[in-house]
Structures are given as structure tokens and as C-alpha cells.
Symmetry: C2
Subunit: 157 residues, 2 copies
């Protein structure tokens, strides 16, 4: 956990909304030179505070896509089996997000596929082929009300 000052947090706040904002513009808004902003961004990349810079694609515009939530329950909680499941989920391109969670279920997955048929095929590869998966529950999304990976930085500042 890095210690970030108010400038770093202000920079992050801008970038997580639009990382194409010129450093000069950011500098002006927070009272730093463009060079200073550039160095801070560079450092945050090196220290892993910034983990990626990505383009977000509008699903609806590229083709029909289905978004699903899947709650997965495991039989055994043995660490090797859990890790093995994590790896299999992580390496599937259809699995957009994967969370290991507490309570009734062990994993929550966000899955994006072109069709229900593709999802059915995926469940065979991902779930039915894994002996340690007890059950899974699929939730179909009708509407993406809000999407993003933003972190509420205001609470830290």
C-alpha cells in the first residue's frame, strides 16, 4: 500500500474517468506543472497503483452479447482446489470478472458471451468438467445500469 498525497489522488481521480486528459490540463487544475504530473503518473504505474489503462467498449454497439452472473458453490474448500478453480476462471476470456466470496456461495463470476448456446458450452468446460463444483446458479442481466471500475477516492482525500 503506497502512500499517496493529495496531488496523486487528484490525478487518479481525473484519470479513472478519462485517461486521455492531457497532463498539462491536469496540472493546471491541481496546481502542478505538466512535468510533475507526468512523473507522478509514471511512479504510480511503476508501483502498481495504476494497474492498467484501457478502452471501454459499448457491448451493444459491437454485436449481441449476453451478460450473466454466476454464483458457484464448491464441494471442498481445500486451498489447492480453490486455486485451481481460480486459475480456470481467470483464463477463460468469457469470464470478465471473478470474485472469491464469503457465505453460501464461493465464487461470483461475471460472464459475457455472444449467446445462450455459447454460455451452455462454457458451463460444460468451466463447471461440469470440474468435479469440485457442487452447484452454480445463473442470473441473466437485462440491463447494465452502471458499469465501471471506479474507486471512490473522495473517502480517502
Amino acid at each position: 500500500m503506497e502512500n499517496l498525497d493529495k496531488f496523486d489522488l487528484a490525478i487518479l481521480k481525473v484519470l479513472q474517468k478519462d485517461n486521455l486528459t492531457p497532463q498539462r490540463t491536469i496540472g493546471e487544475s491541481i496546481g502542478l506543472s505538466a512535468a510533475a504530473v507526468q512523473r507522478r503518473i509514471k511512479r504510480m504505474r511503476e508501483t502498481g497503483v495504476i494497474s492498467a489503462d484501457i478502452t471501454v467498449i459499448n457491448r451493444e454497439k459491437v454485436g449481441r452479447m449476453i451478460t450473466l452472473f454466476v454464483e458457484v458453490k464448491m464441494d471442498s474448500e481445500k486451498i489447492e482446489l480453490i486455486d485451481q478453480a481460480k486459475n480456470s476462471f481467470r483464463s477463460a476470456p468469457e469470464v470478465q470478472q471473478c470474485y472469491y466470496v464469503t457465505g453460501e456461495t464461493d465464487f461470483v463470476l461475471v460472464i459475457v458471451t455472444p449467446s445462450m448456446y455459447d454460455y451452455e458450452q462454457l458451463t460444460r468446460r468451466l463447471f461440469f468438467s470440474n468435479k469440485n463444483i457442487k452447484s452454480f446458479r445463473t442470473i441473466v442481466t437485462l440491463d447494465i445500469v452502471k458499469e465501471g471500475l471506479e474507486i471512490p477516492l473522495d473517502f480517502i482525500m
Copy 2:
């Protein structure tokens, strides 16, 4: 829904992994000039195929943060009440993602807060104050196995 050719899709495939990739580099890898790549990106921004360009922050590095899933059940499915709920979820900065879904539950939320206390406060504002929310179930995440907003474009190509 825009119709995108193989070049557009190839560009998107690169950008959704790293949108800081120089257009010249993209051009070389797909057999186009940098200018052509730039024009295509511009068009995809204008048509909304590209909805955002963002920096992804590593939660662990900026401070203690808790990630939660919340399944929300509504009393009435009246469209005005649903829309009103959507708006309240959308406008809360702690709500990172919000999906309107089928089945038992009506909404699935991904929530990021600094502490359980903050989450408890949020539930008052977001859930208990809304008469139309029948119940909600909170799932605490232990580990983010995979995070992202990537869309599997290989299935389209």
C-alpha cells in the same frame, strides 16, 4: 449497433487491453497506416462503440477498501419505481456497477467502500430509505480473482 470490419475489431482488441498503445504500433500489427488507425478510433468514439478511456486503479494500493455484492429484491416492478431505483444506484459513487437482472432478485450491485461502517451507512441511504425495496442480501468478497471490462471479441471475428 455499428458494423465494424476486421480492422476495427483488431484495434478494439488492442485498446481494451492497453489504450496507451501508439497508433503506429497498432497500425503495423494490423497492416494499416497510423493515420487510418487514428481515423477509425475517432469514428468509434463518435459512434459510441468506444464509451470511455480509463485508468484502472489497484484498490489494495490506495487504501483499505471493501468490495461487496448486493442482491436487491423489489416489492413492486412498476417501471417508475424501477427507474427511480436505477437512478439512485447510478448516482451513488460507492456503487461501482449495477445490473438489472431476471429471476429471484431484481438488481445486482457491486459496491466499494472503505469500511463496513461506511457500507452500513450506505445501506440506510440506498436501501432502507426506499420503501419499494423488499430485501437485500450482501456478499462480501475475499479476493478479486479477475477484474476488467473486456469483451471477448474473438467470437465476433
